[in-house]
Assembly symmetry: C3
Homo-oligomer: 341 residues x 3
């Protein structure tokens, strides 16, 4: 597409050569034929060295560019719009059941549902209208998938799992595995480890999205619950009987131990760990790699470190070596003064 045509679509103004644009990319990775974007003068160096053929810039940008410029009000947004024009369309998932899929006759498949090759759907499962179940998925007995959901390849839902409307599960998500629960007793001094039956289910609210290879365990009794609009990233672990209220986020490789309750609008950052049987109040953020051993009542909105504390406490702890060196010097000087008296 010509840069002039693109400028028209984006409601922008072209300056410079009317080059051919075929893709979008960040300033540093852009190649000939790419459109890039910048809104902040602090990245002026990246603009000056970009290999892009054209760059989206705000109206008041006065640092020039080594290529064509398209001036727009919101370069980020314009680039997303342009990217959609160039992106190959998402793979089509036409309604219908692939002939290789194994679907139990008692399963209820809604209208307009796509079921991909080698997918298994067991007894009594229900798939809501318009949902896409891709290849090689396993949906166990009595599971319910809400309408307009999208399950990517190689997801497993153990029996009884319930998903709301518009849920997205990425490749390798595991819902409903047995939680970690054992009773250890001793007989004649020898340990005897007995598995505690995990009888509950996993339930996800509407518009929940779960990243690749994340695991959520079924409840011991009752349900493990993820509330509506909560978004969970890749490789996260959610223990049995955890409850996450709606509109929260949990970033990659974080873990939440059994029976913990996380409020609404919380954000658990990457690699953080939240202990079991505690409560995190609405709106609290747990920083990356933080470890939370006890309940957080919301009086501190952001915690960090392990055990987690406020930014002020954490910052003070980081400063200790410097403060200590200073105090040590003071003591040394004081000693000398005392000795001299």
């Amino acid at each position: 597409m010509k840069a002039s045509e693109l400028a028209g679509i984006l409601g922008g103004v072209l300056e410079g050569e009317d080059v051919e644009i075929t893709a979008c990319g960040g300033l540093e990775e852009a190649r000939r034929g790419d459109l890039s974007f910048c809104k902040d003068p602090k990245h002026v160096k990246l603009v000056q060295t970009t290999q892009a053929s054209a760059v989206l810039l705000p109206p008041d940008w006065d640092h020039g560019a080594p290529c064509a410029i398209i001036r727009v009000q919101d370069p980020n947004h314009a680039c997303m719009t342009a990217a959609k024009l160039f992106a190959p369309p998402s793979p089509e998932r036409e309604p219908g059941v692939h002939p290789t899929a194994v679907v139990d006759p008692s399963a209820k498949i809604g209208e307009g549902v796509h079921i991909g090759p080698f997918t298994v759907i067991e007894k009594g499962a229900v798939i809501g209208n318009g949902s896409v179940i891709e290849a090689q998925v396993f949906i166990g007995e009595g599971c319910v998938v809400g309408p307009d959901s999208h399950i990517y390849p190689q997801v497993t839902l153990r029996e009884g799992t319930k998903l709301g409307r518009g849920v997205i599960l990425h490749c390798g998500v595991r819902l409903g595995g047995d939680g970690y629960g054992y009773n250890t007793t001793f007989e004649n001094g020898l340990p005897k480890i007995e598995k505690i039956p995990q009888l509950g289910i996993v339930e996800l609210g509407d518009f929940v999205e779960i990243g690749s290879n994340t695991t959520i365990d079924r409840a011991r009794i009752g349900r493990t619950y993820i509330g509506p609009h909560t978004k969970i990233d890749n490789l996260v672990q959610i223990g049995h009987n955890v409850k996450v209220a709606g509109y929260s986020g949990i970033i990659a490789q974080a873990g939440v131990a059994g029976s913990t309750q996380i409020g609404s609008g919380c954000l658990i950052w990457a690699q953080a760990g939240v202990s079991g049987h505690i409560k995190i109040a609405d709106g609290v953020q747990v920083g990356p790699q933080a470890g939370v051993p006890q309940s957080l009542d919301g009086s501190v909105k952001y915690v960090i470190g392990a055990p987690a504390e406020s930014m002020k406490e954490f910052g003070g702890r980081l400063l200790l070596p410097k403060l200590f060196a200073k105090l040590k010097a003071e003591v040394k000087e004081l000693k000398a003064r005392v000795a001299a008296k």
Copy 2:
């Protein structure tokens, strides 16, 4: 089921209305028709606000409840018994090989074995009597699965993996992947990275259970070994040539690096990391998120922090900011006193 009937089964005494019970659940999540339980008066508020229709309480509970009460000696245990009555039965896995499974003619399939749809069993593999291999599992050449084991969907066992009796593998477990091992040399100043062949296997003892998406690498030479009755949670990483003795536990997202030996009865808590080529003595516990850089001889039974230390040392470290502030004030006062003399 009527509460009175349930009380009979559980050996308890009903107080209040003979309500209909259809499920079990924790005090906070229980809904109309649910049976809940409480054994500890410290949760009295949760009892008072529960939506459950009946609650299991100990004989000496004198705080009442907003619903029917069933008094029993052990409310936790009674609730588990009741939960089993209400839980839907586990999916039946009848003996037989699903017609879509691809089983090599040289594989030996024991009596009463279930093999699910789209499962692949390669040359020379052996499946012990009574084992359940669910859908979409991959069992490579020469693997041995002991009797009475249960392999959930989408597990992969690379060639030569050996499982004992009564092993449970949850969805997405990866056994026998190549360990991380490379030789880097330099030729004319350029690095040359060569893969070190990973020639060994993974072996699991009897009654080992492994959680969803956990990975255990095959040995470079010899075997990576997990001893009997050891229980491993989700998303755990076990490096090549690791040996874990029996009756240990490893909680979610922990990692054990190559060639390390973990004793019997150890507990490695969530997100902890244990370095390679070290030994952890029998019965030692490694706390959550701890990092263990060197061998632990068992003189300290519980370590925490990174690098890991005793609770006393760790606690002292946490107190430093307060102690420092106190010392700083003392020095200030002392300075003033010296100046005044």
Copy 3:
């Protein structure tokens, strides 16, 4: 094989009985019939207590052994050579497409390619000559797999993923999942969370190897890129738009957040976390469990701790409790002296 024959193959000299050798193993795990090895006198105790039938030792070893000895220049290397003799051959993956595989007619399958059972290859995908695609793999629309690559069972490549030559992907690897990206706005005080389209791809350079259950997200725009010869271990998370230059290593359970750039020859150790939108200079190593909040320019070659700092700073911090106790004692003494004056 007789130890004498083995000594001949390895260019070594046999001392002691000409025993039969059937396998290789580490000193501690070796059993009767095994060959073991040791090059360092510091492991003399392990040699003295090994159950191996023969042990490879260097020419100058003068501590004896409780079994036959084969003296060689490089015991490690010789043991690897011997291990290859005893290891069962890798499973054969003959050229050809398994009759159960679902391969779109528009996909281009190169010469000598193996495609295993239940594998799905979608529209327009390209598989290079000599590549092995094992069982139950999913390769989405328009993916490109370079020649001589090896994809183990149950890997998923979402649409558009590109792999170079000689790439190895272990079981459960997830390439091209949507990155974590949402816009949150408020309407009448209520949050509205919108998914940001993830329009880019994942691209891996030549000879990249990725461990089991690792996840690499597709770019928001453009590509997430892993450079040639980079080796990534198990359960690692790589966010959208990350760029890793060639010849780097990322060890198990580490995570790299979105848009970060990692240089050439870097090593990110296990469980470390690298924040988003930063740069790690060539050759920098990030220690285990470290947390890197900002760019590292290479002036420090190894960082550790969270937030990450130099070994010197980190070591100083670890020493604080001891230094503090000493200073406290000094202040106490000084106080007494001042009081006495």
